[in-house]
């Protein structure tokens, strides 16, 4: 594929650029402070306890990781599937994916009980653990991403772009599946003991990744020449519709199969009718799927295409995180059923029920810190590497 485009770095032009930088930096600071406080005082200052051991930081981290894999879409469509109107955003898409992954991983690491022992995690592996495999998948993603970017940046290596793109594409599918599997193979947790989580995570990654890409591109468009032209806009709207439908489909199937298995009833009741029902129905189903779907399908003339896409993306992101909240927190929110056929009359440690999870300000701080870091990293990459196409029009004219 010959590159007809000229790329340049992001030039600071508007005040809003610096405001965004400042905003991100402040949140990274808040995140760092939260992490330090948590490491010093212990997880006692979070809402987590020995029932809910993975809390809000995991929701943020998994959201970012899943979005990272999805954000690679632009590049995959351009180089693997040869969709030419995605070509201009291919570089941006890789840089964004890498930044999101780093943000997510950092949240994950800082939520460890002993972040100071990270070196142990990097040097000793238990190869039966999916977690270990994921460490390889994540670092591998960064390496492949960097290589891919390099192949695209350097003219003489352009012919390897297709190869790099294919490898990156395969890798990201495995990565998302692997992330889903972290949750999918927990025999002790009824709500999670399902192979359907893997495809659910892939669908979720497509929605969230596309949504983040859209939002970033629209933000960039306010600062410089336009990234999203009419063709790309249409294509993105259609893609998002399909991804949302896939997400809805797997989510519904997941819950229906769970309802068939009677031992999963307690958990399902908690998610669909109990403490998490609002997050599930309003957050995931209405805000996350139905609203953006109807916006995108019944295109009202009073809203511009661009605005519509932006709003649906924002909703899709919120809804995706809500779904992850329901999956991660929900799966831990009901007592594990140890004695089928028996009722627990009393227990010294919550076998009959325990208080709902209430995330603390430190967890929000850490989570948003990760998001802000991802944004900051992405802006930094855009600032130092020529990742943004200079002239949008040249593409539409090109024969490809």
């Amino acid at each position: 594929m010959i590159d007809h485009l000229r790329y340049s770095t992001l030039k600071p032009s508007r005040l809003s650029y610096f405001l965004v930088l400042l905003f991100c930096a402040v949140f990274v600071g808040i995140g760092g402070y939260s992490a330090l406080t948590m490491e010093h005082a212990g997880h006692i200052i979070t809402g987590m306890n020995n029932h809910i051991v993975w809390g809000l930081p995991h929701v943020f981290a998994v959201s970012l990781i899943v979005a990272a894999s999805g954000a690679l879409n632009g590049a995959s469509l351009a180089s693997v599937f040869g969709v030419s109107h995605y070509k201009p955003i291919a570089r941006l898409s890789v840089a964004l994916a890498m930044s999101l992954l780093v943000g997510g991983l950092l949240v994950l690491v800082l939520d460890l009980g002993r972040p100071d022992r990270l070196i142990v995690a990097m040097t000793t592996y238990n190869f039966r653990s999916i977690f270990s495999w994921n460490i390889f998948l994540y670092t591998g993603f960064l390496v492949i991403g960097a290589w891919y970017l390099w192949m695209m940046l350097e003219k003489r290596f352009n012919r390897y772009t297709l190869l790099a793109g294919r490898i990156a594409f395969a890798w990201r599918i495995v990565l998302t599946t692997g992330t889903g599997c972290i949750f999918g193979f927990l025999v002790g947790r009824n709500a999670l003991d399902s192979a359907l989580l893997a495809p659910l995570f892939v669908a979720l990654s497509l929605v969230m990744g596309t949504a983040v890409s859209v939002l970033v591109m629209i933000m960039l468009d306010r600062w410089r020449s336009v990234l999203i032209d009419k063709q790309l806009l249409d294509s993105l709207q259609r893609l998002l519709v399909w991804f949302l439908l896939a997400l809805l489909y797997f989510s519904v199937v997941h819950h229906i199969t769970n309802l068939y298995v009677s031992e999963h009833h307690d958990v399902e009741r908690y998610m669909l009718l109990g403490g998490l029902s609002l997050t599930f129905w309003l957050g995931h189903i209405v805000i996350g799927v139905l609203l953006p779907l109807s916006l995108l399908v019944f295109r009202s003339a009073s809203v511009s295409d661009c605005k519509r896409l932006a709003i649906s993306s924002l909703l899709g992101l919120l809804g995706g995180s809500a779904l992850l909240y329901v999956v991660i927190i929900g799966s831990q929110s009901t007592p594990q059923d140890l004695f089928p056929g028996k009722t627990v009359l009393a227990s010294t440690f919550g076998d009959a029920g325990f208080p709902a999870y209430q995330p603390s300000v430190w967890e929000w701080g850490l989570g948003f810190g990760g998001v802000a870091l991802a944004m900051l990293l992405c802006l930094l990459l855009l600032r130092i590497l020529p990742l943004l196409p200079e002239l949008r029009a040249s593409l539409t004219a090109s024969p490809e």
Binding site: H43, N49, H51, V120, G188, P335, D351
Partner: protein, 247 residues
């Protein structure tokens, strides 16, 4: 971990303190003290330690085993049961059909195919040769995946700094812990019992029997020959080392 440069400087400092010769002797010294004993000492898979809990002897409302365990390991309540360490807990049950009530202690079941061992990214969660499932707190990074994986909810994460530990039971913030079957006691001397079993016997209930599941002459194996003993969540086929009579 320290970068090598810093380490080198520190070793040099030690040298300055007056040592010039001994370093080369270390490997020899280590291998001699260890190898000489490895044949006779250390755990072996000839044994498999386990517990047999007779729920008909276990009294509802009695928590002697829990207190015994906590005392032995210096686990002090902070008043919040949800964040405190819970190595062993008491559960009262009622059969949905017969209405019959029972009571039992629940702790790490020391599974042969332990989910917590499978999922641990660093291998800190491990099974000793004699079947005891432990956390090596020196390599535990506090990811809590094992807590998620445990079907018995037998693992606790330490949420806050701990002080006044017992010298034989080191415990600290940010790592996961669970019942160790009192390894420090049973390793030290023959015929030592875990603290919960001792406490239960002291209370004259004798509901907890400790012993070697591989030894046909042990009390625990004989007792299991007399009455059927079952595993909690036997559907998972984890081959637990803790068994219950009249579950």
């Amino acid at each position: 971990m320290l970068p090598n440069k810093a380490q080198a400087a520190r070793r040099l400092f030690l040298q300055r303190l007056g040592v010039f010769s001994a370093a080369t002797a270390l490997p020899a010294l280590l291998s001699s003290t260890v190898d000489a004993q490895s044949s006779t000492k250390g755990v072996s898979s000839a044994q498999r330690w386990g517990l047999l809990i007779d729920t008909s002897k276990c009294a509802s409302g009695c928590d002697a085993c829990v207190r015994g365990c906590h005392e032995e390991h210096g686990i002090n309540s902070t008043g919040n049961e949800h964040t405190d360490a819970q190595w062993i807990r008491k559960i009262d049950l009622q059969n949905n059909l017969s209405g019959q009530k029972s009571s039992l202690p629940m702790m790490c079941q020391h599974c042969e195919s332990a989910p917590c061992v499978d999922v641990c990214p660093t291998g800190a969660s491990f099974k000793r040769a004699d079947g005891i499932v432990l956390v090596n707190k020196h390599t535990c990074i506090g990811c809590r995946y094992c807590v998620m994986a445990c079907p018995y909810k037998a693992r606790s994460f330490i949420h806050e700094p701990i002080s006044d530990q017992k010298s034989w039971a080191p415990r600290g913030q940010g790592t996961v812990e669970s019942c160790t079957l009192c390894v420090h006691r049973i390793d030290a001397e023959k015929d030592q019992q875990p603290a919960c079993a001792v406490a239960c016997t002291d209370e004259a209930h004798s509901a907890i029997l400790f012993g070697d599941l591989n030894d046909p002459d042990s009390d625990i194996v004989k007792a299991m020959a007399n009455q059927p003993a079952s595993q909690v969540r036997s559907d998972l086929q984890l081959n637990t080392g803790v068994r219950y009579v009249k579950l």
